[in-house]
Symmetry: C2
Subunit: 177 residues, 2 copies
Amino acid sequence: MGNSAHPLPGAPGRVLGIDPGTQLTGFGCISVHGSEIRLVDAGVLRFNSRQSIATRLVELERDLDELVTTLRPDVACVEALFAHYAHPRTAVTMGHARGVILLVLRRAGIPTIEVPATHAKKALTGNGHADKSQMQRAIQWQLGLNAIPEPPDVADALAIAMAGMRHPEASEALSLR
Amino acid sequence: MGNSAHPLPGAPGRVLGIDPGTQLTGFGCISVHGSEIRLVDAGVLRFNSRQSIATRLVELERDLDELVTTLRPDVACVEALFAHYAHPRTAVTMGHARGVILLVLRRAGIPTIEVPATHAKKALTGNGHADKSQMQRAIQWQLGLNAIPEPPDVADALAIAMAGMRHPEASEALSLR
């Protein structure tokens, strides 16, 4: 990855944000080059809720492996665990997906930052408790998108990437490319 | 796997019990042949708590893959999610390990039964709230072991296997070998 062909020093780095879930896992990949941030790809990995959790986890592993191979992120950012849970059972189920996500990223040697949801919300909107539609509009504006990112899980994943890229470990990984 | 060399009809089936954790995952494998139940192997997978959860999950995947290849269980039994959690954060972290365990077992094509801890306790001691030492002594007696299984996670994993093997899905998987 030489940088001679690029007008700015250094090649753009890629940050992959992930919002884990066992029904829907949002992902969003941005390229970062100085202050220039562009959308590379974003979407959701959907899992059939009629299938067993084990089967969904196998699909999640396969889909995320593919995504990482295709997008080649330099850094990954994953939504951090909450400190408090209104719905412990849902949180534990989410923990299953998160475990597989951390496994795949670690195996692929991708440095991974854990980003609290409130941190991502605050970084994007100034409000740590912004609602879904505020987050979607903030992401649309910041990345200059033609449409609101849908479903909200996509905006959340992109917000996690945009907040996480400011983390010292992420900056370091991006500068070490 | 013919059965002609064996005195009882059918070859013994193997049931692997797992008690998931990110610091310590207990495992216990029993062979079941009619009413004859024997210990095949049991122990714990230990993870260095100073390492990142991602690194521990990669080790868990590798160790469990090895275990499954060596022990070749016909059925696996994993401690079920609790309905209520006193320590949600610990439970969510445990969910990470459990996600990787379900992934590895599903990939290996091993039918997996989820066994509630209270069910395992009740099946072994008649008391769904038996303490660790009661469980250890019950396992020692039922499997005719010379020593108390240590640490308690080993006894828990064996109890999960012994309760899970009575499940209709487990019986079916054992009879279909």
